[in-house]
């Protein structure tokens, strides 16, 4: 008798893979907006997987930052660039076929490796909960310096983007 969480895992995993496939290789539409929408759905299903792994804070961040901020940025740029000719282009059939073959091979190798590996599971101690409190403590105690460096990285990215978006780079 499978447990309810197992059923949820299969549901979310299936949805993640289905939406991921529709994002990269939608047979009905090659419109970037469709891809972006399916990427949002993929990310939301993945947040469900994060909840099943008890990473509650990361699930919230995944939806807020990825599905919220990053994908809105993507959609802004798609709307900004007027991309109409993508649909009319012919696909290079040989390239797509060979690429799919290579990717299929890689997927086979990866899955075989995952199945063959016997990962060591730490025994004993209590299972971790990715709650905000626990994660905040470890973030501000052990990872304080990387955290501060990250804030500088965000500042650098912000300045860089403003510079790149100027009309004439002078």
């Amino acid at each position: 008798m499978p447990q309810f969480t197992d059923l949820l895992f299969y549901a979310f995993a299936g949805l993640t893979l289905l939406f991921g496939f529709l994002c990269v290789a939608n047979p009905l539409s090659r419109n970037p907006v469709t891809s972006a929408m399916f990427l949002v759905l993929t990310i939301i299903s993945m947040a469900g997987l994060f909840v099943l792994l008890h990473a509650f804070f990361l699930a919230a961040v995944q939806i807020l930052v990825y599905a919220g901020a990053v994908m809105v940025l993507f959609l802004f740029v798609i709307m900004l660039l007027d991309l109409k000719e993508e649909d009319r282009r012919k696909l290079n059939k040989t390239a797509v076929g060979l690429g799919s073959l290579a990717v299929l091979g890689l997927a086979g190798v990866l899955v075989r490796a995952m199945l063959a590996a016997k990962p060591v599971i730490a025994a004993g101690s209590k299972p971790v909960e990715g709650s905000t409190k626990e994660l905040g403590r470890i973030l501000f105690e052990s990872y304080l310096l990387p955290f501060e460096i990250l804030s500088i990285l965000l500042l650098v990215a912000m300045v860089g983007v403003i510079l790149l978006s100027k009309k004439d780079l002078k």
Binding site: M46, L83, V128
Partner: protein, 101 residues
């Protein structure tokens, strides 16, 4: 069968392969960039699964950092794509084959 670490790792591997397929098969810069995000997310899923099943929160902190860096990276990358589009009026990789603008 109870879901364990291998289940999550297989989903992660398949998702990574899907992202790679997108980068190889699609020719629009924006869709290729989205596929890159998909690959990044697959890595995140593997890290969270390892973190859960090894009872160690460091993996989740790593994912937190990855999400932040990815947000910065998306902003810069999209700004580059917009700058490129302004210069060449296309975001199709086959039209962007020359080194000199």
């Amino acid at each position: 069968m109870e879901t364990g670490l291998p289940h999550y790792l297989i989903v992660s591997a398949l998702l990574f392969s899907l992202g790679l397929l997108g980068v190889i098969a699609r020719r629009s810069l924006l869709v290729m960039y989205m596929s890159l995000e998909l690959m990044l997310n697959a890595a995140n899923l593997a890290l969270v699964a390892f973190s859960r099943f090894n009872q160690n929160l460091n993996g989740q902190v790593m994912v937190f950092f990855i999400i932040t860096v990815a947000a910065a990276e998306v902003a810069v990358g999209l700004a580059l794509i917009v700058a490129l589009f302004r210069k060449r009026q296309t975001s199709h990789v086959e039209d962007l084959a020359s080194l000199k603008l």
